[in-house]
């Protein structure tokens, strides 16, 4: 019998292989790629917002950093796309660390406000650093390196890693400092360090997601990563349920596919997006799954001892 500890990894391997090998049309492949990209970013934000209780409205900036890093490395310096994508994540982590040191002392709404400002600041730097990023004209000519295989590979590896993390000591540490910061620090957790860990991991996921987005669109510009994008990331997490990683994936999948389904009606689909968010707020204010994971609804896996 397979070890229970590897159940999550196995489940992700199955999902990954299905996504990669299931016969699909070109258009459907595009949706799968987009789905993977959105899910990676949403998982990052979910760790920070749902599991650590830090509301962020600026995480699109980390996607922008990842996207620009990967684009500049592949186009200007001819680096292979795989290391370039990972480098995108790492640059996002470094910037997140610089931002986190002063701002993670803020709690609750104050951090949310600071994150809006910092997110916009990063976007504006990218927009005005003409010589390096080509500014608001955008950065064209990126190879379409985000194939179905690449996107699914990153989604599978990062997804399994994320679920493993929240099922480990770090997951309990973050949830403890979310539920009661003082009690957590009196259980021996350095809560500032816990919050920093969550921010760095979430920045890594968003950076990777941005780098993949650049390779999918072949073109990036700063306005793709504005506050709208940031709020969309947080909205997906709230939609899926704060404190539920599987809820985040489900929420992300629902919102991405609904938006794709109504692509014909172009800007009017934002009405549908709004209606979707309002209806979940009315019908299930705690989000699709609340703060439970999907397997806790199955009778057999509900009790894990």
């Amino acid at each position: 019998m397979m070890k229970k500890s590897l159940l999550g990894n196995a489940a992700f391997a199955v999902v990954g292989l299905t996504l990669a090998l299931w016969p699909l049309s070109g258009y459907e492949e595009g949706i799968v790629v987009l789905l993977c990209i959105n899910c990676i970013a949403a998982m990052g934000v979910s760790l920070l917002t749902g599991f650590t209780g830090i509301f962020t409205l600026g995480h699109a900036a980390y996607m922008a950093l990842g996207a620009y890093t990967a684009a500049i490395m592949t186009v200007r310096y001819g680096v292979h796309y795989l290391p370039a994508i990972v480098a995108g994540g790492i640059i996002a982590v470094l910037v997140a660390w610089l931002i986190g040191v002063p701002t993670l002392r803020l709690t609750g709404d104050y951090y949310a406000i600071a994150s809006i400002g910092l997110g916009e600041a990063i976007r504006l730097i990218l927009e005005n650093w003409q010589s390096f990023t080509r500014g608001a004209r955008g950065f064209p000519g990126i190879d379409s390196y985000t194939t179905r295989w690449t996107a699914v590979l990153f989604f599978t590896v990062l997804g399994a890693g994320m679920f493993n993390l929240i099922g480990s000591r770090l997951g309990r540490e973050l949830k403890a400092s979310r539920d009661d910061r003082i009690a957590a620090s009196l259980m021996g957790f350095n809560t500032t360090a816990s919050r920093m860990k969550a921010l760095l991991i979430s920045a890594f996921y968003c950076g990777i997601s941005g780098a993949l987005l650049g390779g999918y669109m072949n073109f990036i510009q700063p306005s793709m990563f504005d506050m709208m994008k940031s709020t969309e990331l947080t909205a997906v997490v709230v939609f899926g349920g704060l404190g539920s990683m599987s809820g985040t994936l489900i929420g992300s999948a629902i919102i991405t596919s609904v938006m794709e389904y109504f692509r014909d009606i172009s800007q009017y689909r934002m009405l549908i997006y709004g209606a979707l968010l309002v209806s979940i707020m009315v019908l299930r204010p705690e989000g699709v799954l609340g703060n439970r994971e999907i397997w806790s609804f199955l009778p057999r896996f509900g009790r894990r001892d």
């Binding site: 480990s168 949830k175 957590a184 009196l186």
Partner: protein, 302 residues
């Protein structure tokens, strides 16, 4: 109350047999004061707790008892004075450092991790056991030095991959946490979110969570608050039982005289932020200042 707690009723309260006169001083408060703006919450407070003691702090509401606990556990740093734990100055350490040195506490206004299950609450503490020692630093002072207990610890990479020590360690953390839940009589509620447990159970869960840290000193902040007499009776047994079973130095705050008088051989009595008496229950009961603090002065009435 569960059978587990009833069983202990037959045990002698061991604390009264153990003499603590000759053991080492574990905790020493040296002239500490605390101001909140212009209000002096604690004034020149000094007392020592010896290893293995079961001591109590009593005093009317607002006497500054919880402030003392908050200073020992470094939620606040005292305005003046110093706190020594195992001959080490811990006055200015941060809360998590003090905790890793072996001081665990419960809270008067319950601070459980409400959305986590009872078991996860205890596991959160169990995974955080530290071994500690004092090491001389560059300036010649002793500074605390702690490292995670390897039995309950695994690396970030092992968390990420669920390989290596992950499953064995998680199993150990879970087993030990279940044992502790069982000890306080909450095993049947292990999977219920802590925030939805009845009040008395939340209090006992806090005790289990503090014990899971394997502390050297346990601080219990009004453990009997809001309990009915029957629950208080079982709680007394739980506290004395834990004290003897884990050989754990315990400091209890209560303003119910009867709880402290029954279980603590060493009592400190406070009023208006200052110590007014210290001694055995008999001494405290016959102290004129204590009586006036609790029952009022003749002059004040007349």
């Amino acid at each position: 109350m569960s059978d587990l707690l009833q069983k202990d009723a037959s045990k002698e309260p061991v604390s009264k047999e153990v003499t603590t006169e000759n053991t080492r001083v574990l905790l020493e408060l040296d002239d500490i004061s605390m101001f909140f703006g212009g209000v002096q919450a604690v004034r020149d407070m000094s007392f020592t707790i010896r290893e293995g003691e079961l001591a109590g702090i009593i005093g009317p509401n607002g006497a500054g008892k919880t402030t003392i606990f908050n200073m020992i556990s470094s939620v606040y740093n005292p305005s003046s004075g110093s706190i020594w734990f195992r001959e080490q100055d811990i006055t200015l350490l941060r809360a998590y450092q003090v905790n890793r040195l072996g001081i665990a506490r419960t809270f008067q206004n319950l601070r459980l991790f409400g959305r986590l299950s009872a078991l996860d609450n205890v596991m959160t503490a169990t995974q955080n056991r530290y071994r500690y020692s004092f090491r001389e630093n560059l300036r010649g002072h002793l500074s605390p030095c702690y490292r995670p207990d390897p039995k309950f610890h695994y690396s970030f990479l092992e968390s990420l991959l669920h390989l290596g020590r992950w499953s064995k360690t998680e199993q150990q953390i879970r087993t030990l946490s279940m044992e502790l839940l069982d000890r306080v009589g909450l095993a049947s509620r292990a999977h219920q979110p802590a925030g939805t447990l009845p009040y008395g159970m939340q209090r006992r869960l806090e005790i289990a969570r503090a014990l899971a840290l394997d502390p050297k000193l346990l601080l219990l902040d009004e453990p009997a608050a809001g309990m009915n007499p029957e629950e208080v009776f079982a709680l007394n047994d739980l506290i004395t039982g834990i004290h003897c079973e884990f050989k754990l130095t315990t400091l209890v705050i209560e303003h119910h005289m009867d709880v402290i008088m029954e279980i603590c051989p060493h009592i400190v009595c406070m009023n208006f932020g200052a110590k007014i008496a210290e001694g055995s229950p008999e001494e405290i009961q016959n102290d004129s200042e204590v009586l006036s603090a609790y029952l009022g002065d003749e002059e004040a009435i007349g």
